[in-house]
Symmetry: D3
């Protein structure tokens, strides 16, 4: 299977990513028909676990979107499980040092690059098991989250870690770490300046930057700014917003 | 527990109803915080079964919306189960004759009115089992769907069936039965004329009419026309529409 | 597999039956270690469906209790499914006429006695598929519920229906049908007189009578009166009662 | 979506069908990669219910096999639900009369042909909801099971029922009904003669005949005899047989 | 949402806590109506995982009990997930050093106090996301378990760790660590002396002590001794005990 | 409960082990009737999590096979949970050093040998909780996986770790670590030489060696070579192979 996200990045294009918090293969297949390039099952803050992630992957597979996961933590057991289940992109929260980045990469790559254990139970579906092995190390996107002051302090070392394909920005946690309120779609100049630094440093290394957004217009603006993966809310947030608007209109 | 839908009807007010197709207690609790007066678990065309309906009821309960169900068919086994689970409103598809309406009412009401079996396993939560029994027959709204030519032919007899609290209109099936395409938010004069007849006949009998809608503005218009319960799409439809719009904006 | 319930009846002994409303294989295995002779998954008023019944059967199987089901309704589809899953006893609500009793028996027995379809997917576990077929028609206990005035009017005809192994009494619904409040452990002389009639008529035909009870002392009394299967509350009721008592003591 | 089964039949080819008893989307996707033309979720004798059927459909969808269901009974509620979920073939047990065949067809076809209610929640995935409606009545294969003496007595009338695309033979139940043991891969001359009659009568009407088999060689022989759909065991049976052989070899 | 446990502690009152081992939202809602002040989902020794904990939280929410969790281990991934799901109390097993206590607190508190990541997907239900953030750090009770000799050796340092609201005693493991048999409701003078030390040291620091008990009378005694949270068995233990007693009475 | 695997080893016999990747109690009970001595739920590369492992254990329990688990990682939280659920054998991936082996043993053994926490919620089923505690430390087989060059370098130290009952070989990962392709049933002389070393070193210490195999004949050969536990494929692999062969025959 081609990783459409990495393909887009190779061509210099940005992708629009959906975010799955609802633990249901059915809602995943609905989201998969909405036009997103990729869908990320959020196992950290979403109401998801391993088997619900598998169900979401099954729901999205026929619709051609690239399956991704945000794992709950930088822990090799769960990283191996979601990759075996077919994740083509792996977002990991709270990567604050080069050591943590190296551990993340190691868990995501087969030897000799890393230490991932072999057994792609569902991932092998995307081809013969042999061919999956041949290309998995380069096909799978490894994306540590940069979301603390400590990570910013170690930014270059994290980015220089071999095997890091890009980074993902968590604006709420980043804000918290800087002493600001937790929120998305930030406008503080100091934050936007950080975004520029992230784009510049990753640009030097031919890496992509993704970011979580609270609205489509802000996401569009971030694409314009140079981000190569933009997420808009999540499935439950899109539903809630739409439902509230519909109720308000009907009640007039 | 007060049935807020019947309370609103008693006061002449219309309610806005949400529709649950996603089999998840989590998405139900999100919908329950969107402003709807009631939420209906769609066991006919939704991706729902009995235990997912229970999960949805659990998700919505703390948020004060009235729990309702559309059963898959006019069958006493499933009707009893969802009422025991706590449904305060029961929408039944394809009620085409007075006999079918009487069977529906019988399955929903305890003796001596009907033949419902006693054992309100979750419904008893809304009070002492004793007090639930005392008021269930009048609290639960029984709403046969009028959605075929045959049902229109038998309309008065259906409405005259003791225990029918109102009706629910399925515009797609009604259209199909009339030789029209299956769709919501209909504008054909012949259909609008039928709606007027339904409102008039139920009005005479102090019954409410509900209708399924594909958009909030049309739902609002239906309230203006006299409908007392309007549904807007369903959870997955709201999510899909919002997701598509967000993607279009971000990519735009 | 020997049906211990029928074995006990053949020897003139009464059995104590547990009742499962919680849809969990784990709680079923806990109940299966409590000393009950049989456990009945309540698919009518319990929070149960077909797959949760299978999970409960799996939980109880190693502990030697006889698996039974109360189906939600006298419908051949679900009756066949739970028998295939391994139910050795089948309690069916609201059997009010000989015709209904005959339909129930027919759904429970293989030809030439009845019309059950062959495919004992889990039931075959209790032996070779061949041997299951050989004995299923006599091993499985078929127990219509007698719980309405109409059923009492048709009692002899129901009992005379070939293949009826006994009956099960639902005191709440029976009371409702007689114009009394729905409750267990009844003391009204008219009800106790009905119980005596049931015991007498079944006694003539070598059939067993079971009854649902709200307390262990009443259940014991019913055994003394001649009932051959007594149920005490259900899993969730036992838990609730014990929890309330424990809290009261601790807060005491 | 093209119904590959009907397409093959139109071209005079037979299809090999897999049978799903394990309630798991994962085992369904494994079976979907085994070379079967279609996979049937067995909701009658398999350990399956509606939501597990949906999970199986999701598992098989990316692999291009045609999704089918055997419903537990000829009941319009469950028939509508599995068609909405995306079943392209509908096998119904115990269709013994022309009236039952007509009821089955009616539940499977939209007006004006039948009375199916509109709301293809997952089936609409296979195209725009509009286009699904346009072709569903002809795309979906309706296959009553012929498995009793009564059905044989009414064979011509059942086959003459408009909308019947073919039949499916259940050798175990057919044997039982004839006073024989319940088994597959039958060799009794009287049974083979019945098969010939079924092939001849359906051949006259351009209908297909499917049959359940216990082994691949017998299935192949049935194709040679003229059957147009052959099922081989089921998922759990294939696994059990293979496991027993592997254990015997290893221990051997 | 007010944390009623901390509120009681602020007023000097003890709370009675229930313990959930059964992975079912239904059994949780039954337990939630039994009079407990709080309910703890036991993800360590109970038959629970993350999604079953969410289901239990949904079941208990309308009934006003305070939701708590015992996590399986001192691991930030699962701690974050259950807090996001709405846990207002966090019991962590095997906290044996001040470093472990500090790691626990860090995982439970937002910056600048700790390093919890922001995304309270269900917890935000208890108010606007904003207001949850404002009070979460002080509302959530963090309770390390003291259950080894090593923990006793480090007791003062553990208690002095900023952010520790109290401790929870596991009598079985504590006994094991001291070379005694694993059991509850201990009477060994050396153990009771340890309890007194725990009460004294926590008393100095205005912290609460909770303890697991095997019976209600012992729990009551512990309240008298100064414990501020007493747990009585668990859901399955209460059920088992009650079932055994009922069977004995009925058979007696 | 007797651990039949350890019993066989004590008698010098090899056991044949099945491997469960399908998250279903039903498929587990089918596998449990295939002749395997033990069944291992694969939580690392299988589509399994904790609750599905419990369901598999429930499915296999009545059939007398020894329940085992491969955990996803050497992490005390999940190790404790699966032991409490009743695992009698614990296979842990990627144990590369004596320290890791010691941590594994510690998590599996009660004090004073290790640090396992007491609460055998399902394991206690195999006897009174007291008796389980008395024998668990010696009954449970602890089997670190030897599957990297680093593990081979530390082999003696790993084997000398007190409490290690044997080892399990993962041929794919071992090959990867040696610069070979990931596959089972290896024939490279250098690998077979490693196997001989493993057998020799464990033989000195009276420990058993298990190995994962891709075919029954190779597994048999490994028994002949001295391996004491051989696994053949997994449930889904056996099913897939059998299904492909059946389709080929039928179509052939």
């Amino acid at each position: 299977m081609v990783n459409k996200v990495k393909e887009a990045w190779a061509q210099g294009r940005a992708v629009v990513n959906g975010w799955l918090a609802i633990p249901s293969g059915f809602s995943a297949e609905v989201m998969a028909q909405s036009g997103f390039d990729s869908l990320t099952v959020d196992m950290q803050h979403g109401v998801q676990d391993y088997l619900s992630a598998v169900a979401c992957f099954q729901g999205m597979q026929p619709h051609g979107v690239t399956p991704m996961v945000r794992v709950p933590w930088n822990e090799p057991g769960i990283i191996g499980k979601v990759l075996d289940a077919g994740a083509m992109g792996l977002i990991c929260p709270m990567v604050n040092t080069a050591e943590q980045a190296a551990a993340l990469v190691s868990a995501c790559r087969y030897p000799p690059v890393g230490t991932r254990s072999f057994g792609p139970i569902r991932a092998g579906i995307y081809g013969e098991a042999g061919s999956y092995f041949d290309t998995a190390n380069k096909d799978i996107a490894v994306l540590p989250m940069i979301e603390t002051k400590q990570a910013l302090d170690n930014l270059e070392a994290i980015l220089d870690t071999p095997g890091v394909d890009g980074i993902y920005v968590g604006p709420s946690d980043l804000g918290l770490s800087l002493g600001l309120a937790p929120k998305l779609d930030r406008e503080e100049p100091e934050v936007l300046k950080i975004y520029e630094r992230l784009l510049k440093e990753t640009g030097k290394r031919n890496q992509a930057v993704g970011i979580h957004n609270g609205s489509a217009p802000y996401a569009k603006r971030m694409i314009g700014m140079g981000f190569k993966l933009v997420t808009i809310m999540n499935d439950s947030g899109l539903m809630l917003t739409a439902a509230r608007a519909a109720v308000a209109t009907a009640k007039g």
